[in-house]
């Protein structure tokens, strides 16, 4: 299948619900090794996204991503704002001006966004950050694309890899962000950023399955 503007909007709508439902969970994760605001920030950010999209329906897919980026940068507040904001900014830039985008476009778009987070946060895999969910997911999606899988299969592979990556952060020591101040005491806790990144991919896989 291909993804059109309605599907993209649906994904964002689902994301708003997902972050609202998981607000408490993300915040609890963050209270263990951070400043206990990640759930609140993500919920606020995507609520702002929802309001913005409802108020000013964008004309094309890339302008949807632009609006999302602006809303997140303006409303999230913590580090997640510029990071996810950059994700959507770069995704917008990579998005072709088409009414429907193909599997290859979707992977390219995620790749651009994830590279953006990498550049912005200057973290690497193993630092106990969102990248620990996103990088394995990107790998899996690229492999899926190379093997000629359907978009649904590609996204499923991405979400599965992100989930594994998220769980792997429990054993890691944080080297970036607020959690890095805790040193070895950050070991044993799941990273809230990797968790919100997993939720992002999971929602895409769930929404764009059929």
């Amino acid at each position: 299948m291909a993804v059109g503007k309605p599907e993209v909007l649906k994904w964002l709508e689902v994301l708003q619900q997902v972050y609202a439902e998981n607000r408490q969970w993300l915040t609890e994760l963050d209270s263990a090794i951070g400043d206990a605001d990640h759930g609140i920030n993500m919920d606020r950010g995507f609520t702002a996204v929802k309001a913005e999209l409802a108020a000013h329906p964008p004309s094309e897919i890339r302008s949807v991503f632009q609006s999302v980026a602006t809303a997140l940068i303006r409303h999230v507040g913590g580090a997640a704002g510029p990071l996810y904001g950059t994700f959507f900014l770069r995704a917008a830039a990579a998005c072709p001006r088409k009414t429907e985008i193909e599997a290859a476009d979707v992977v390219a778009l995620f790749q651009a966004g994830i590279k953006g987070i990498e550049q912005r946060g200057k973290a690497v895999g193993g630092d106990k950050t969102m990248l620990d969910a996103l990088l394995p997911a990107l790998d899996a999606m690229r492999k899926g694309l190379e093997n000629g899988c359907s978009l649904a299969a590609i996204l499923d592979a991405g979400a599965v890899a992100a989930h594994a990556g998220m769980l792997a952060t429990v054993a890691m020591q944080a080297h970036k962000g607020r959690a890095s101040y805790m040193g070895a005491r950050s070991i044993g806790h799941q990273d809230p950023g990797a968790t919100s990144s997993y939720l992002l991919l999971k929602a895409a896989a769930d929404t764009w399955r059929s």
Binding site: H56, T70, I73, G77, G78, P82
Partner: protein
Amino acid sequence: MIGLVVVSHSAKLAEGVCDLARQVGQGRVRIAAAGGTADPENPIGTDAFQVLQAIESVYSDDGVLVLMDLGSAVLSAETALELLGEEKSSRVELCAGPLVEGAVAAAVLAGAGAGIAEIAQEAQNALAGKVALRQPPEGQTSGSEEALVTLTNRLGLHARPAAQIVRLARRYRAQVTIDNVAANSINGILSLGAREGHQLRICAQGAEAREALAALVEFIESGCGELAPAEPVVQAGGIAASAAIAIGQLVKLRPAVMEIAPRAIGNPEVERQRLMAAVHGAEEETRALYEWSKAHIGADEAGIFDAQSLFLEDPELLGGVSRMLLEDRVGAESAWQAETTKIADRLATLEDPYLRARAADVADVAARVMRRLTGQASAARVLREPAVLSAHDLTPSEVKDFDPAMVLGLCLEAGSASAHSVILARAMGIPVVAGLGPGISALADGTVVAVDGEQGTVWISPDAGQVEALEGRRREWLAARRAAELERHRPAATRDGRRIRVFANISGVAEAAEAVACGAEGVGVLRTEFLFLGRAAAPGEEEQVAAYRAIAESLGGRPLTVRTLDIGGDKRLPYVEIGEEANPFLGWRGIRVMLSRRDLFRTQLRAILRVGAAQPVELLLPMIASLDELRETKALVGEAEAELEREGLPFRKSIRIGVMIEVPAAVAIADRLAREASFFSIGSNDLIQYAMAADRTNSRVAPMADPFQPAVLRMIRQTIEAGRAAGIDVALCGELAADPVATPLLLGLGLEEFSVSAPLIPELKRAISSWSAPEAEGVAREALAMDSCESVRRLLLLRRPSPEPRRQP
């Protein structure tokens, strides 16, 4: 000079750090805060868009240094760079230095004119001074050298020598401390507060300890390069008053104290005739000064000399002098000196600062007569070869007397960039540094100095390298000025060639010449309140004619829109009794006052009509809320025309009468007003406040008074459409017109005339030329579809043209 941006999670912290930095930035460094988020419920955080705005507010091609507090501040700053675009962001440096110490160090160095790389490094290392202070004094260890040296330069270790010490210390592989403070830290060195006579203990450790020590001792002993005779490199900082550079020998201009040689006084009538001859001569000279200034500088500056002529005809003064000649039997010189000094002294003691400043004019014109009586030439005239002049302060006519070929530059102990004399010098192309303090007079005549009026620096005995560098800058400056001049005076147009008129808002004679210099095509609003405020009685018709005419003449044929007196609201006049009002802004103001004070209105209308006889003058009515007000005014204009006709005075027939659209009621009836007015001028400042019922000086509701409110935008659209349907011109003259973010929106709504304060014109013209009409229309359509001012602003920020040059469509 580079700009500084302070990014913090807390708005208070960011502002506080900026305050600290501004203290040491000598008021010259542009510093902006980007603290907290725009979300009042979660104020702690950072917002890339705020960082972006802060960077743009202090941006120049010299670069911008950004200091940040923790975590996401850095991420937001980087995101801001991405939004800023490549060209500009390549000149922005994100600095990892400590926020407070880094900002202070950066402001000091920026104020001293350092480059961005050096500033970034210094800000990065800004903790070194504090770290060293907290370390216990080290004992003597092997390889360490120590010396005691006395500071001999008069100003102590201020920013410039401190920076030189830091540079010197860094040149060697050695850890150097001065009085236990690390010598590689500008903050540390400045924190010593060392003054002349202080003994400094310098310690150096490391491979090149000895060399470092020797170099520093030599530098400090030589007076840190600030003792003119020993090491002829001195610099004095003042106010950059005239952007140009000159190099030459210094000549001190002594105050014009007139020597009166004792001599026998004969017939008082002979003395009186001598005096009158001198006065007439001085009058002619003054008249010539007036004409010259009017032609070369503008009617405003010339006005000084016009007033001086009146003084020379003053019957009280001339009567007083004649009486002295007769009764006291003194010479013309003494009598003139005594009487004019008396008047100048009386003026000098008045409370009104304007009148007090007139004392200088009296002294100026009095000296002109004295020079004729005594045959002494003015000081500047005795220059035999080109020189740089130093003086305490100068009068306009002293400056006027200067021959720019002989007076290369001016160093003033007092004065400011806005003094009339300095404005004259600037217009004559003479570089000026003002506010240098008494030190400059201590220099011997003949000392070679370089005057850098751009940075406000005087270099004393500059070396060949400095001279070469300064001359290079002078050439660059001249070339840049020529280019800017051409650019400024090009008419504004969109990229696809739609002509847009860019006018100036002015409120006085002074700003008229500035408007022309900045590239205004005319004056969109002359606020006439300047003539009426601060005096006991209303100005008469002749005075108003003189003022409006002076402005019109200095516009050199460009159109002048005169707004009739807009009094009331926050402006009161002693001769217009308004009384207590619960809501002055909803009270008796603007056209309402004038229609009931027919005496005031009639005089002003007559004056405007008369000036219009020879000049392209239009009439603009403030606060119109109903058709009746416009019709009533037109009837009064008709009466004034009939009177002038009867009196045989020339006047402008069928003057164009425009209406300010600043009350929502006027917007609602814009279609009807458009049938009876010649043009509209949207006064967005008041319109926004009245439309939103929000006072922008009330901080609780001020955010509502946002120009991008959908309600306001619809009103602007409605006004422009009504004007277009009726075929009349529509201008916008509020602050909104000058905001480059709003430019595509206004262009897209069909606005064809912008009226802004003069200095903002070049930037506005640039903004206009970066849009094509169809692009702007697209932006306006999108903006008008938005539901909140935040969305509109965001849209406009996102739609800003990318820095890459676009292809022509």
